[in-house]
């Protein structure tokens, strides 16, 4: 897993190992619970694990895009309604154009966010929050505030809900996107530029990196992945609905950060984001299996995120 550095653990690998360890702890605790109450290790069955990956695929797509934006020191809070708007647009358009129409929503929102942040210099937290509100307003105006009556197309259903050889297509899409993202980050000029800008935008700019272009591209990719998640989620649940993206914003950011990406940018590996997504999905699932009341689930969920960040903060001192 760690090539070439057997002794000195790379600083950005440690959080991934910790998160992976915690995933095992969650599985162990959950299994102990199911063994005690049901007498069966349900959590270790392939059916359960595949179902978790299916659930995680949507979050994984959103988190992959979010990571690109976080790496350059920004954030995209508009993913919630980008996801919903893409899903609603896709189901409304229908037919063979449903999927391209949904993704086009992502491209448009990403361009808007990117231009607002790169050219108008509005802090991304404010700008994307504003864009999120505008999108919600537009969608409510479009649908009258009710769940759209239109249904997902067959192509959307295929991507979101069907399986190939027992493996959900959504998981395969997530895997493909993951491979592309990992390659993008480690093997392309764009990827290096993201890390460079996150560490020092001034140095990247003075190195002749076209920082505005990189910023816009990062936001576009983030929005496109959110809209892909939206289209697939609509396929999974057969239709789009109001607020379908709300449950994805904070978990996506949390997954990226739990995976070891620095919230202020510049550091982090894509593998960590995948582990972070799995951790969050499993934690949610195990807490609900243990019939933890919603209030307690929220407290534990938030506590785990804070605790993990504290562990990382101590583990990776920075020097300047």
């Amino acid at each position: 897993m760690i090539a070439g550095a057997p002794l000195a653990l790379r600083a950005d690998t440690k959080p991934i190992l910790i998160a992976a360890g915690f995933v095992l702890v969650i599985l162990a605790v959950g299994t102990a619970y199911t063994l005690a109450t049901q007498g069966a290790a349900t959590l270790l069955s392939p059916a359960y694990l595949i179902q978790q990956l299916q659930t995680g695929a949507f979050l994984g797509l959103v988190a992959a895009g979010m990571m690109l934006v976080i790496l350059i020191g920004h954030i995209d809070l508009s993913v919630a309604w980008t996801l919903a708007a893409a899903a609603m647009t896709a189901t409304a358009v229908g037919g063979p154009l449903a999927l391209p129409a949904g993704l086009a929503v992502g491209v448009a929102v990403g361009l808007l966010n990117g231009i607002g942040v790169a050219y108008l210099r509005v802090p991304s937290m404010i700008f994307t929050l504003g864009v999120n509100a505008v999108l919600r307003g537009l969608m409510v105006a479009q649908t009258g505030g009710f769940a759209p009556q239109t249904a997902a197309t067959d192509a959307m259903r295929f991507l979101g809900a069907e399986r190939i050889a027992g493996m959900p297509v959504a998981v395969l899409v997530w895997a493909a996107v993951s491979l592309l993202t990992a390659g993008l980050l480690s093997r392309t000029a764009f990827g290096k530029a993201l890390y460079g800008m996150g560490n020092s935008e001034a140095a990247a700019y003075l190195s002749g990196i076209r920082t505005r272009r990189v910023t816009i591209l990062a936001f576009v990719l983030c929005s496109v992945l959110a809209s892909l998640a939206g289209v697939m989620l609509a396929g999974y649940s057969t239709k789009a609905y109001q607020g379908m993206g709300d449950a994805y914003v904070l978990p996506a950011i949390a997954a990226v950060v739990i995976g070891g990406t620095h919230i202020l940018g510049g550091r982090g590996r894509y593998l960590g984001t995948v582990v972070g997504v799995i951790l969050i999905v499993l934690l949610n699932s195990v807490l609900s299996i243990m019939q933890m009341p919603e209030a307690g689930r929220q407290v534990i969920y938030g506590g785990v995120i804070i605790a993990m960040l504290l562990v990382y903060g101590r583990g990776a001192p920075t020097r300047s």
Binding site: G183, A189, S200, A202, A203, A204, S207, G208, G266
Partner: protein, 509 residues
């Protein structure tokens, strides 16, 4: 109350050393400063003056050595602790908060309180008193600092220091932004403090200021305290010799003797707001042209304007006969330019990233095949750069922050050489790096020039300009006031032109 011996020094340092990475900034310094004395500290850039001040004022902690204040051993973990002990520093970089009022700023550390809340009226009154004491009664304490001109801000900075009732006041180039009238006011204030028994450490590059003000002088060189003497005990020539030291001679590569080459970079009437007021100059292939003058006369802006960082630049620039109007550093790079920026830690390097990533940061496109970076090519380029500049590294995957200052600067330079630039702009590239690396950089610049590059070189170190440059353009207030060539490049000529005293030549255009 015990009467302390007034002749005993107020501040004594014994064997103080400080290292930054591989660079020894201070090396076993033993130094004393007495009450009621204005003590000037002299030295070239990188001599250790700033580190000395930072240690005394608690900004950094010494690696070894003992500091005593009033005979008692002290260690300041932070500037606030130093302030409490009566050690107050006026830094060169302004430390004011621009959106707060003058009164808020002056009394930021310890505002007057009533019932635990800040007493605004008392704060204003106190600020008025302090400003009046340095002859700045005209500054309204209710104004926001942002709305004051630079020279007034510097006076506010000084008032802020006085608010802390210093027993040891340190001024680090504190007069560089002041108008002549304000400088006189500061002198009067310093003499008053001296009469009151305050110890004053005064750092300045301006000899006439030191002549007018100081009673004791200390010379630092390469992190060592060379000598302390009373004013007038050493001739100015001797002082310069002490500052430069002997090892400096012959450290520069020989300059070629030849006629002036055809210009590669031609600049006509370059202007930018108030900072650049119509400069014209040229740099030829194979030439190293220096930009001299006091700090902040527009030299940095010239480099940034040529590199496409500044917006709204006027005038015409041609490179190799073609018009050059870059809108961004990316376009400047495509035009064959390179800029070694001023601050390598924030502008030159991505510190937490690896040496390899930093080296290739400006060459990502040529190292890519389609979208994907060619790993073999990247490795070869990194190895080549490390070899060419003899950068001392363990592993190219280590963070660049683990390198010494000199090697970090080599990484910045190597990053740009990788792009094969025809015109190289350097902004004070040797600041804060060790003598050995400096010499390597001088050698490298000459080699690059011999290879056909045109080099424009700004340095705050006059000695460097004299040793390296074929020609030196001295700037004052956004203009080139004098151009020196060949043997006419002397410290005397540069200093005289930098202060804009006599020998004025009408600037071009």
């Amino acid at each position: 109350m015990i009467q302390t011996d007034s002749r005993a020094p107020f501040l004594t340092l014994t064997g103080i050393s400080k290292r930054y990475g591989g660079v020894r900034a201070l090396d076993g310094v033993t130094f004393a400063c007495g009450r009621g004395s204005i003590h000037a500290v002299l030295g070239e850039n990188g001599a250790g003056k700033s580190t000395l001040i930072k240690i005394v004022s608690g900004v950094v902690q010494p690696d070894e050595g003992v500091m005593r204040l009033d005979g008692r051993e002290v260690a300041f973990p932070n500037p606030a602790a130093a302030n409490r002990a009566g050690v107050v520093c006026v830094f060169q970089e302004l430390s004011l908060m621009p959106d707060l009022t003058v009164a808020d700023n002056i009394l930021a550390a310890d505002p007057p309180r009533r019932f635990g809340l800040i007493d605004g009226r008392a704060q204003r009154r106190r600020a008025e008193e302090l400003l009046a004491s340095i002859g700045c009664a005209d500054v309204d304490p209710r104004l926001r600092v942002r709305d004051l001109p630079l020279s007034r801000r510097q006076m506010v900075e000084i008032a802020k220091a006085l608010a802390k009732k210093p027993r040891l006041l340190i001024l680090d180039e504190a007069t560089s932004a002041l108008t002549a009238a304000d400088v006189e006011r500061v002198y009067a204030m310093l003499r008053r403090l001296k009469a009151d028994g305050v110890a004053i450490l005064y750092i300045s590059h301006r000899m006439h200021e030191i002549d007018a003000l100081a009673d004791t002088l200390s010379v630092f060189r390469n992190g060592r305290h060379i000598e302390t003497f009373a004013k007038g005990a050493r001739s100015p020539d001797r002082i310069v010799e002490l500052m430069i030291g002997r090892e400096i001679t012959a450290q520069y590569p020989p300059k070629p003797r030849r006629s002036r080459p055809k210009p590669r970079l031609e600049v006509r009437d370059l202007s930018w707001g108030e900072r650049l007021r119509g400069l014209s100059f040229s740099v030829g292939s194979g030439e190293i042209v220096g930009l001299g003058g006091l700090d902040g006369q527009g030299q940095k802006e010239v480099l940034l304007a040529l590199f496409g960082v500044l917006k709204g630049v006027g005038g015409t620039v041609t490179v190799d006969g073609r018009p050059h109007r870059p809108g961004s550093p990316a376009e400047a790079k495509d035009g064959g330019l390179a800029l070694i920026p001023e601050d390598r830690k924030t502008e030159g390097l991505m510190l937490p990233m690896s040496i390899a990533d930093n080296l290739v940061a400006a060459s990502l496109k040529p190292l890519s095949k389609g979208f994907v970076i060619d790993r073999a090519k990247e490795r070869a380029a990194v190895a080549d750069a490390v070899r060419r500049l003899q950068i001392k590294i363990g592993n190219a995957d280590d963070a660049v922050s683990t390198l010494s200052g000199g090697n970090q600067q080599k990484v910045v330079i190597a990053k740009w050489l990788m792009t094969g630039p025809g015109l190289i702009l350097l902004n004070d590239p040797t600041r804060g790096i060790d003598v050995g690396t400096k010499q390597e950089i001088y050698r490298l610049l000459r080699d690059l020039a011999d290879g056909g590059a045109a080099i424009l070189f700004y340095s705050t170190d006059y000695d460097e300009l004299i040793g390296c440059c074929d020609r030196v353009s001295v700037m004052y207030d956004g203009r080139i006031v004098r151009e020196l060539e060949g043997d006419a490049i002397t410290e005397r000529a540069i200093v005289a032109s930098a202060l804009n005293m006599g020998n004025r030549v009408p600037h071009h255009g």
